[in-house]
């Protein structure tokens, strides 16, 4: 059963990953990539890392949905309703992907995998987290906050209407001058 599920998911992941380069529509390419990532999520569940697998499904779905919007938004034709291909270096990207895939697959096949010692842990997710992060958990949390702050700062810097537009030259306006009135009584 497990072997059958593995092959189905693995083939689905590789095929839909390849199809990303074959489709002539942004939406199809995005959701083909999502199919590939969801299959990988399924494979992670199959490894016994249930939590990680389900989180992959959750994060990748939201991520790909948002990415679909951004990709279609920045395309040359209006709203992406016409068929198109990815213009930027499609062949090169496909070659790089194929090479990396081949490299990883060879690595998997040639690596001398150790035999299992002892029993499988009761909570593999916990063990994986400890061996990945361990004492560095605080570093990771800080890094996460720093990344998040960077994202917010970038957005703030990138918006056309800055705080002086909203609150006047001396930043003393009582109400922010926004083109769209907000929902919190402004």
């Amino acid at each position: 059963m497990g072997v059958a599920v593995f092959w189905v998911l693995a083939v689905l992941a590789v095929v839909s990953g390849t199809m990303v380069f074959r489709f002539d529509s942004m939406a199809r390419a995005t959701f083909s990539l999502l199919t590939s990532l969801l299959s990988v999520g399924g494979l992670v569940v199959l490894l016994g890392l249930d939590y990680l697998g389900v989180v992959i499904v959750l994060m990748m779905t939201i991520e790909m949905a948002i990415m679909a919007v951004f990709m279609v938004m920045y395309m040359m034709n209006p709203a992406g309703l016409m068929p198109m291909t990815m213009m930027h270096n499609k062949k090169g990207a496909a070659v790089v992907c194929a090479l990396v895939f081949a490299l990883l697959a060879t690595g998997i096949l040639l690596a001398p995998w150790p035999a299992r010692r002892g029993k499988a842990p009761t909570d593999p997710t916990m063990d994986l987290g400890m061996s990945l992060m361990g004492p560095q958990m605080l570093t990771m949390m800080t890094l996460g906050m720093a990344l998040f702050a960077t994202i917010v700062a970038t957005v703030v810097l990138a918006t056309r209407r800055g705080r002086y537009d909203r609150l006047g030259d001396d930043l003393r306006a009582r109400h922010a001058d926004d083109p769209v009135r907000g929902g919190i009584g402004r």
Binding site: T61, I66, A68, G182
Partner: protein, 314 residues
């Protein structure tokens, strides 16, 4: 911890959910007809009104389907079929009393993941027909969905935090004495609001709203339309049913057996959501979205903090 129900419940679950969705849609139809032409004079008339969603579904099934020019048929099909499938998959972790089809160790994350699949489904169904109005509907849901999803996630996480487990069965067990709705009311309120929003129901139905001629649903016809709109009802049913194990004590209650309590509480929540839609005026979404980012998200974080402090000191 919830017991695992026997295998046949896998097949009963979709049927049960569809029945509940039909009853809820029937209730909504009775309220709609009542608002249009007064209270029904007889029980017979009320029954006719309640059967409207079922008749409407049958009508769409026998109707000649429309097809738009250069539509992306596979993506539309995937989108429309994915919505009910995601709703039913999310329902897998719902305990009826103290038994669920599968009490996954990370059931709460599973539920949220399936809800996000429904999110992608709406975009697909809106994009597929190659039509501006449905495209706008799909886009709107994604843009607004971000603002719904964050407080929603935080509210769900708060319940998991209170029980110190992601297993739905253990969340129910943790409420044997006191319901989470009592000591985390903010999270409960936010959950109800965002559950309605995730099923784009009530004041949040802009993605499928009349102002864009039906939005994401505009071009769907025939079986596609039945699947999509039915899936939306399923999503509403599942999302409101999930508030019972999360915040309302699941099957806990005096005298009656567990499953009756689950059914009663689910019915109560569904009634509030369906009936409440008529009592709330249409919201301007940019206002709600700002409210969600500026007020609800910080409130949800503060509520999570309070719960975390209580849990640490316990």
């Amino acid at each position: 911890m919830a017991e695992r129900a026997p295998l046949w419940t896998v097949f009963v679950l979709p049927v049960l959910l569809v029945i509940v969705a039909l009853v809820a849609a029937g209730f909504d139809a009775v309220l709609s007809a009542g608002a249009r032409s007064g209270r029904s004079a007889s029980l017979r008339e009320a029954a006719v009104r309640a059967s409207w969603p079922g008749r409407e579904a049958l009508r769409h099934l026998v109707q000649q389907p429309r097809r738009t020019r250069a539509s992306d048929v596979p993506l539309t099909r995937i989108g429309t079929a994915l919505l009910p499938v995601a709703a039913i998959l999310a329902g897998v972790v719902l305990p009826l009393g103290f038994r669920s089809v599968s009490d996954l160790p990370e059931g709460i994350v599973w539920f949220n993941a399936m809800e996000s699949l429904a999110w992608a489904a709406v975009w697909l169904a809106g994009w597929g027909p190659n039509s501006a109005l449905s495209l706008i509907g799909g886009y709107r849901f994604l843009a607004q969905g971000l603002a719904y999803e964050l407080p929603h996630m935080l509210a769900i996480t708060t319940a998991a935090l209170g029980a110190e487990s992601l297993r739905v069965g253990e969340v129910v067990d943790a409420q044997a004495g006191l319901w989470f709705a009592v000591w985390m009311p903010v999270a409960f309120g936010i959950y109800l609001l965002s559950a309605m929003a995730m099923a784009f129901w009530g004041p949040f139905d802009q993605p499928a709203g009349r102002d864009v001629a039906g939005g994401a649903v505009a071009e769907l016809s025939g079986a596609d339309r039945v699947l999509f709109l039915g899936g939306r009802w399923l999503l509403l049913v599942v999302a409101s049913a999930f508030s019972v194990p999360l915040f309302l004590g699941g099957g806990h209650g005096p005298l009656l057996p567990g499953w009756t309590w689950t059914v009663l509480k689910t019915a109560a929540v569904l009634t509030v959501l369906v009936w409440g839609r008529r009592k709330v005026p249409a919201l301007r979404m940019e206002r709600y979205v700002e409210l969600a980012w500026v007020v609800l998200t910080p409130l949800a974080i503060v509520q999570a903090l309070v719960v975390a402090v209580v849990v640490v000191n316990r």
